[in-house]
């Protein structure tokens, strides 16, 4: 097993002429919960999609557990996309069967017990579920795998604050201890307590990567506070209406 779980070297991604990532260098160890933080359009989703092999980088190299992205790395990554991709006529239990077929590390019994604690009825069709409930099903699918790397793209954006805490608790208590969880979000104050490390992404580049405790100690403020300071949008200075 490789010491480092994720290594990105000089990763560049352009959509046509439009740069999304401009030279990302990143190393992630094992057994950590890492926040990928940045404002809208900073490249969070692009980076996550490159890590899980859905997008090819324009330049640069990505290694997961010492391997280039391919069938092996996909088998050790559990990915929560930023949108639903399931047919809505399916039931949650259908999805569990599907995942059990695809991934040998998927634990169906665990998925069922997570549903029970999240208050999801697995025999319901997705069509009949609310947006938040669907997100919970998606989270169950992702967390019921014993993966090495969990890539969670905006896992808490669509649910109410109480459910948010519950979901974060689910992530905390259910991830594989030897695995690493990468959570992209802009709801920083909600996730800050669960993070080991924070990565700030700005205009496609990593501007900060440190432990949350170091940031608080050095800056005398929370990661959320620092984020607001760095990414403060300038007020619109157009003329009056």
């Amino acid at each position: 097993m490789n010491e480092l779980l994720v290594t990105c070297t000089g990763v560049v991604k352009r959509y046509g002429n439009k740069p999304a990532l401009s030279g990302v260098n990143l190393e992630l160890g094992r057994g950590r919960i890492v926040g990928l933080l940045g404002p809208n359009g900073s490249g969070k989703t692009t980076l996550i999609k490159i890590l899980c092999g859905l997008l090819q980088p324009t330049e640069g190299a990505v290694l997961i557990d010492g391997q280039t992205v391919g069938p092996y790395t996909k088998s050790v990554i559990s990915y929560l996309p930023d949108r639903m991709y399931f047919a809505d006529w399916m039931k949650a239990t259908d999805l569990f069967d599907l995942f059990a077929d695809f991934y040998k590390d998927f634990d169906k019994a665990r998925a069922m017990s997570m549903c029970a604690s999240l208050g999801v009825t697995p025999s319901d069709k997705l069509k009949t579920m609310s947006k938040g409930t669907k997100e919970k099903v998606q989270l169950v699918l992702v967390m019921a795998r014993k993966a090495q790397l969990y890539l969670l793209d905006e896992p808490i954006a669509g649910v109410d604050p109480a459910a948010r805490d519950f979901i974060l608790g689910t992530i905390l208590t259910n991830y594989n201890e030897a695995g690493t969880v990468l959570i992209s979000t802009h709801l920083i104050s909600d996730v800050e307590r669960v993070l080991d490390e924070a990565i700030f992404l700005k205009d496609g580049q990593i501007t900060l990567h440190d432990t949350v405790d170091n940031i608080r100690e050095r800056e005398g403020k929370s990661v959320d506070g620092l984020f607001r300071e760095i990414f403060r949008a300038r007020n619109y200075e157009g003329g009056a209406f």
Partner: protein
Amino acid sequence: MDWTFTEDRPIWQQLAEQLTLRILKGEYPSGSRLPPVRELAALAGVNPNTMQRALAQLEQDGLAVANRTSGRTVTEDGEVIRRARRERAKSAVAGCLRILEELGYTKADALVYVKEELSHE
């Protein structure tokens, strides 16, 4: 008692303080076993590594003792707990005095107010 965290300091320090307080209040009595790291982390809603660091601080302070096989227990040394309680009491009084001084009261005023407050009880 809920776990609350302020913005300006590392979370592990605040965890260590709150765990200490729980021990001093007898919520985790002397000699009793502390819940495992993961369980405590889930209770406080924090990262297990952060909780680990807080517990390491408690061990350093002598309030918690790590056993090789069975997790951590609260120290059985009553003197350590008594000392920690006194520390806590001193800093509570110091904090109170600081606030009164900021309001422009002298230490003598403070003493009068404390006595007055006590006589009401």
